[in-house]
Subunit: 255 residues, 2 copies
DNA sequence: AGATAACTTCCATAATGTGGAATATCTGAA
DNA sequence: TTCAGATATTCCACATTATGGAAGTTATCT
């Protein structure tokens, strides 16, 4: 019809993943009628698609007829996580060894950042950002590092869709301030999150150059440990790590 | 063609998930030609399917043209994992109320156990197994409960791939001892981990029957509290919980 | 460099997926 | 309990959609 069709895209495959994303957005389970209104697809079509997924275990139908994400997705997700992690884990571990703070790798995922892997520091006081967690872009180090690689108008579109909540008094609350901050990040080569997501937590982040999906890595910890002298040591190590990961992601890496 | 067609199944959807599973089995990345021989599908068909996935971020194409699992799968997997947890949380909470010790649910995930959800006891001294954590199978209660449901040769293959580290002096260190232990577990109906992962921690575990992915639940705590009289109370409650979760997880077709 | 293997694009074909209409099932009200 | 309204599922005629052989590209090996 009037809808734009992606070239070479297989319709039913696109639809089935749209449905899975909708269910995920809704917290893991949905009624068929809800999916119909959310997706705009006719009931029988959705039913047939979900039936196919259910037969393979990617979706489960509950007793109340609702459809829920199925256990087989866990394995695929874990595999994808390991895949990204395999390319980055060595470098993240090295960062943790060298700096003693928690290291993360995150990618952009529909207007937010998705934490793909984490190597935790051995300190008892540390962040709990689990792999698979999503966060806003404007108030995280990795998010700002990624945004700094995009064009300003793209950034505006992203925050318009995702919103700009201000979890702390230091969070950036409007687009123009964010754009200004991104200019600083581009000059400087790395992003800083100084208590923008949580007071007392500071984070240094850097984009992974030429990644297929915009990607960034970070080290973060309490301000008491993550100070100016930490930054001096961290920035060159972050750069090394980002470049090394870039090489891994783009070239072959047996793991 | 003369092939059997699944009733109501959407071909391209089935194929696309078969491909994702193949890539996962192969460790996260594969060449198109490898997929062609493994799946029996013609090259152009695979290419079109993967291109659709790649456009949405469920697969990434590396510089050497190999296809790897993409970052968007991470989020779906995480959602599915939480979903499993949601179905079990009520039962786990009841176990904690009844027994006063921490309850876990875990699934098998590429030769290891993946802790999907945990309800912690109120005791200050307790286990710290976080949801999302993976552990070996041979030295955990949930792992052994799951292995006891599999055929011996499958068990041998799993431990051959995953290895059998012995974190404590009580850990099982060779396959034959493990197989013997699994026979005991099958007879008895539940698994015990008595300090095999950490000295002083005891755990009772039971498989969730007929789960789509092999699954088990457990209660664990310090030996001082988790003794014989605890076992007497725990085992019937574990069985009830496992059966209840089984009913939740499997689609209740009879109403 | 040339040869070989692997990947990608093209396009005629019909098999495949589609969705409106009909039917079955569930949920809540009286 | 029975009934009405909402929701899910099955059916099936139709053409849109996916298919895969053949041809064209691009990488890798010798």
């Amino acid at each position: 019809m009037a809808e734009r069709t992606a070239p070479g895209g297989v319709q039913s495959v696109e639809r089935v993943f749209d449905l899975l994303e909708l269910i995920t957005d809704a917290g893991g389970q949905m009624m068929l009628s809800e999916l119909a209104t959310a997706s705009g697809l006719p009931g029988p079509t959705i039913h047939r698609l979900l039936r196919t997924l259910a037969a393979k275990g990617y979706v489960r139908q509950l007793a109340n007829r609702r459809y829920a994400l199925g256990p087989r997705l866990v394995r695929l997700g874990e595999g994808a996580s390991q895949q990204m992690g395999a390319m980055a884990r060595g470098e993240l571990t090295r960062l943790v060894d060298q700096l003693g703070e928690t290291a993360n790798i995150a990618v952009i995922d529909s207007d937010m950042v998705l934490y793909v892997a984490q190597v935790a520091s051995r300190h008892s006081m540390r962040m709990f950002t689990e792999a698979g967690r999503r966060a806003h872009m404007h108030d995280t180090g990795v998010g700002k590092a990624i945004l700094a690689q995009l064009r300003d108008e793209t950034v505006r579109a992203i925050v318009a869709r995702a919103g700009m909540p201000t979890p702390t008094s230091r969070s950036i609350g409007n687009v123009d301030d964010l754009i200004a901050e991104l200019h600083v990040i581009r000059e400087r080569g790395y992003a800083v999150d100084d208590g923008e997501q949580e007071i007392g937590v500071r984070c240094f982040a850097m984009a992974v150059p030429n990644a297929p999906t915009p990607t960034a890595i970070s080290v973060s910890g309490p301000v008491s440990r993550v100070d100016d002298s930490f930054a001096e040591r961290a920035v060159p190590l972050l750069r090394e790590a980002a470049e090394s990961i870039s090489r891994n992601v783009n070239l072959v890496s047996g793991g």
